[in-house]
Symmetry: C2
Amino acid sequence: KVERLSFTNGDRMLIERQVPIADQVANLLHERIVEGVYTPGERLPSESDLAEELAVSRGTVRCALTALATAGLIVRKQGDGTYVRDAKGSENSLMHVVWEFTRFIELSGRAPGIQVVSLERRPATDQDAQALELSGEELVISVKRIISADDQPVIVSTNVHPASLFSKDLDQLDATIELRRFLERYCHREVVFGDMHISATMPDDSVCQALSLAPDRPILLVEAVFCDGDGSPLVLATSYYGDDKLSLQDVRRLYPWSSNV
Amino acid sequence: KVERLSFTNGDRMLIERQVPIADQVANLLHERIVEGVYTPGERLPSESDLAEELAVSRGTVRCALTALATAGLIVRKQGDGTYVRDAKGSENSLMHVVWEFTRFIELSGRAPGIQVVSLERRPATDQDAQALELSGEELVISVKRIISADDQPVIVSTNVHPASLFSKDLDQLDATIELRRFLERYCHREVVFGDMHISATMPDDSVCQALSLAPDRPILLVEAVFCDGDGSPLVLATSYYGDDKLSLQDVRRLYPWSSNV
DNA sequence: CAGTGGTCTAGACCACCGT
DNA sequence: CGGTGGTCTAGACCACTGG
């Protein structure tokens, strides 16, 4: 069998073992779309052609394309071809907004900033315990942040983590990074799942003040539990969105049991 | 090669050709989960066992499992097994809420009702035209409905469709069905994609009146464009949610280019 | 009609988990 | 260690689309 540790196309490393080939293919195609090698509305090379170009099987290419299609980046038409979808797509999907604040704000063309309001270790409340599947009087680590766009505060966010996920002391934690990186750096976990609840609410005084809002202006409240691949809860996130321009967007493939993606 | 048009397990028809096998498997497993054959937290039979039981290849079973995992119904653990996730999951995901009102309300344990406020054919507004990718002065069909739960109005929804999708006259349309069935019946299209924007807003007078709300109570506003598999816009939906109990929920697999689902 | 994506199969090897 | 899911391959046939 051919050993394919890596090979180059032109002067560029393309495929290597180690990380799943399908993922690499997806990333590669994603890059090409972002960079405009494949432009919106354009038809991609056929699956067979891609398979040949990258020296992988067609099944692997399909796997990658499925990922992109699920994310809404491409559209596949049987008997015709695969097209780049002309939409921003998944970049600002609902959940990313919650745990990748900064990227979301950057996408709206503004400069993100994070201010840590508080960082504490305390016993879990009943609500915490239920959401994070904790039993008894376990400890949690709670971080409250204010996120700003162009120095204008737009989000108030509180994240509660099971303390058992952390090996470091409180004063060794740098909370001025966003949720995703925070989890990666200190818990070595990756968010894979999310359960979110969205509602409209009137801001209470503290939120009002933090976001410099008029008290009669409704804002979005997002409550979410994020889990890792095993379904273990990593964080209970409560976020208030106080910016007109922060409309949430959700692009996704519907329907349930269609493997046909 | 074995011809497998259909076969039975006990007295029950299980697999037939025509509809993709993987989908049938997914549906079957979904049913079993819903019916409690497989209960939350329980480990499913191994992929190989399922493949053998249903007389399909392991790849096909994996396809089905991937669909369920994407929807958040199961969790797969390498080297261990596949487990039923204990969460309601995808049934009331964000988008379903918008185009399957009745199911959503039923899931909350109440009786759904649909009242048609207006049904008209008119020229597209600029906003319609942009959202539905119409050019010029094309016609649209606009339906305004009030959805109730236990006779209590909870949603005001306006759906604008390109008139070109319809072959029937206005007076031949029955709008007392929800969006999904409406599109199936009269346009013979299936919703596959959605672009949604969510925001918090104060209800205007008409919405207030329709939902019997106090004017100082914030509500959710969801604006969505739904498309078919080709990415063609089918409907621009504008919905106001005026019920405390109607919190939106979103469960989904994150991360982008992981084919590893 | 040729070419595309859609589906399925059979078999292989791997990484990982629990025992 | 055996069994599980994770990945990849090669090849087959189908359904659909466009020219």
